[in-house]
């Protein structure tokens, strides 16, 4: 286990050094993050010219969800996206063969080998927005609520990773499937707003099948004291379940891959 941490250190150190070479991009990206965050906050403000609450959520409360969306989207661009989007390249170029011969777990390698550093602003600024919104509401979450929040965030990140992997794994069979990450990105966009805005079957789909609700709405509700431990347990349970599913699916795909390749 410690070996895996050391590997991560090695992988990421060089990426960081390489990326920091492009100083202008570094600061430009932060400025861009700030711009889009402000843009999002202002665009939501437009809705509130016409009403004070939407589906029971006030403007600052919605900003918390928005901030957590930026956090999750940033995380997506840092870990799942840069790694899993390379899968089709691995298969096409034969790099997957190398990966399978290494004495390191293949799922670890395809999931964590790379790290996307150009968008480090989103997660930080997203959390900042959520904090600002809490301040606007005059709320300070209790320790309990903060703990719930952290647990839900972690569960959300595991969920996002797991279903990204599940969606990407079919690349093993259909080599030329590209831009699957566009689907994930699109679905995550619904996470900008609280799940209550969606109704009927869409809400059900976004809670149970593509569990976006767990990624932004539920952690926000934790901060607002609207969530209980039962929900947290459900979130963690779902995260473990989906992670296991993604892992099993991955190994199943590998069996096909190694069986079929000459």
């Amino acid at each position: 286990m410690r070996n895996y941490f050391r590997l991560l250190g090695i992988f990421y150190k060089n990426t960081l050094i390489g990326e920091l070479e492009y100083r202008l991009n570094f600061w430009a990206n932060l400025a861009l993050s700030l711009f889009w965050l402000t843009w999002a906050a202002l665009s939501v403000r437009v809705y509130f010219f016409h009403t004070d609450t939407i589906a029971g959520w006030s403007y600052p409360e919605m900003l918390i969800v928005m901030g957590l969306f930026f956090f999750m989207n940033g995380y997506r661009q840092i870990v799942p996206a840069p790694n899993l989007s390379r899968l089709s390249e691995y298969v096409r170029m034969g790099t997957l063969d190398y990966i399978l011969t290494k004495p390191v777990d293949s799922q670890f390698l395809i999931s964590l080998r790379h790290i996307g550093v150009y968008n480090w602003g989103d997660p930080l600024l997203g959390l900042g927005l959520a904090a600002y919104a809490l301040w606007r509401l005059g709320r300070v979450p209790s320790v309990d609520q903060l703990l719930l929040f952290v647990l839900l965030c972690v569960a959300g990140m595991v969920l996002l990773y797991s279903f990204s992997l599940i969606l990407q794994t079919p690349t093993i069979w259909l080599v030329n499937v590209e831009r699957v990450d566009a689907v994930v990105q699109g679905l995550l966009e619904t996470g900008r707003f609280p799940i209550n805005f969606f109704r009927g079957w869409i809400r059900g789909m976004l809670t149970l099948i593509f569990p976006i609700a767990f990624m932004t709405t539920f952690p926000a509700q934790a901060l607002l004291g609207q969530l209980n431990w039962g929900m947290a347990a459900a979130a963690i349970g779902l995260a473990i379940l989906l992670f296991t599913l993604s892992s099993v699916f991955w190994r199943f795909a590998l069996r096909y891959y190694t069986g079929a390749s000459s």
Partner: protein, 266 residues
């Protein structure tokens, strides 16, 4: 002129063939751009809460955003990234060696994609619109023609606007970021975040004179029968005016930039 037409025919054919090659990707990309539908859902939630807003009810929002999602794909072009990449990598050089202005390549490439969308995606949306009771576009044939023309004009304006920004890549590496900022600000004034009718009069008046509306709000307002013919004429005049402005900026930047072009990277 005949030579140019022949060139366009061939270039559009190859652009079309390339688009076909990537059809799976394109469809995936289009299907995953559900952001306008998300915005629609939020507006519907607002209407649920506060009732119709200055005459915009549920059906109005659904009609507007479904149409907007399609129009967006017709007027959005990624030319600015193409300029940036060509200049940065030196891929502009092979284009410079040909006796044809690079703009023609860029235009026909984008156009190939738009034809693809027209033939494969638009019918799908139209079927959905026809089948859905909430979606209504109560327009005459003349208005439909004006709508089509406004979409084409919006496309041309996007091409010229992105090229005017694109040639700045001769001097800066941050051009596509700059363009994103421009579009980001513009999204408030184009009818994307909210139909322009829902903004205070002052902002609306300003938006009528700016180029952003031409790529989304203007066509949509025609399609949803909210403009009189004089107003439509005014919208076209504004679009045309901005086309001229960006064309001039583009050509000036092009001439100056060429002098600067170092053709790096072999």
């Amino acid at each position: 002129m005949r030579r140019l037409m022949r060139i366009y025919r061939v270039l559009i054919q190859t652009a079309w063939a390339t688009a076909l090659e990537y059809r799976a990707q394109v469809l995936l990309w289009i299907l995953s751009s559900i952001f306008p539908l998300v915005m629609m859902v939020v507006w519907l939630a607002v209407v649920d809460e506060a009732g119709p807003l200055t005459g915009w009810g549920r059906a109005d929002f659904i009609s507007y955003y479904v149409g907007a999602a399609l129009v967006y794909h017709f007027t959005f072009v990624w030319t600015v990234w193409q300029w940036e990449e060509d200049i940065r990598t030196g891929d502009l050089s092979p284009k410079l060696l040909k006796p044809l202005d690079p703009f023609h390549y860029l235009l026909t490439e984008q156009f190939g994609w738009k034809v693809f969308i027209l033939l494969f995606v638009a019918p799908l949306v139209m079927v959905i619109a026809w089948a859905s009771p909430a979606i209504h576009y109560p327009i005459t044939v003349a208005q439909a023609a004006a709508f089509g023309l406004s979409v084409a004009a919006g496309f041309m304006l996007s091409m010229l606007m992105t090229s005017a920004f694109g040639v700045l890549a001769f001097w800066s590496t941050q051009v596509s970021n700059l363009y994103q900022l421009w579009v980001g600000v513009g999204s408030f004034l184009s009818g994307w975040i909210a139909p322009l009718a829902l903004f205070p009069t002052g902002i609306r008046q300003v938006a009528y004179w700016l180029p952003f509306r031409s790529t989304l709000g203007f066509p949509m307002e025609i399609l949803t029968d909210r403009l009189t013919w004089p107003e439509i004429g005014f919208g076209f005049a504004v679009t045309f005016g901005w086309c001229v402005v960006f064309l001039v900026l583009y050509r000036i930047g092009w001439r100056a930039g060429l002098k600067r072009y170092e053709a790096v990277g072999a």
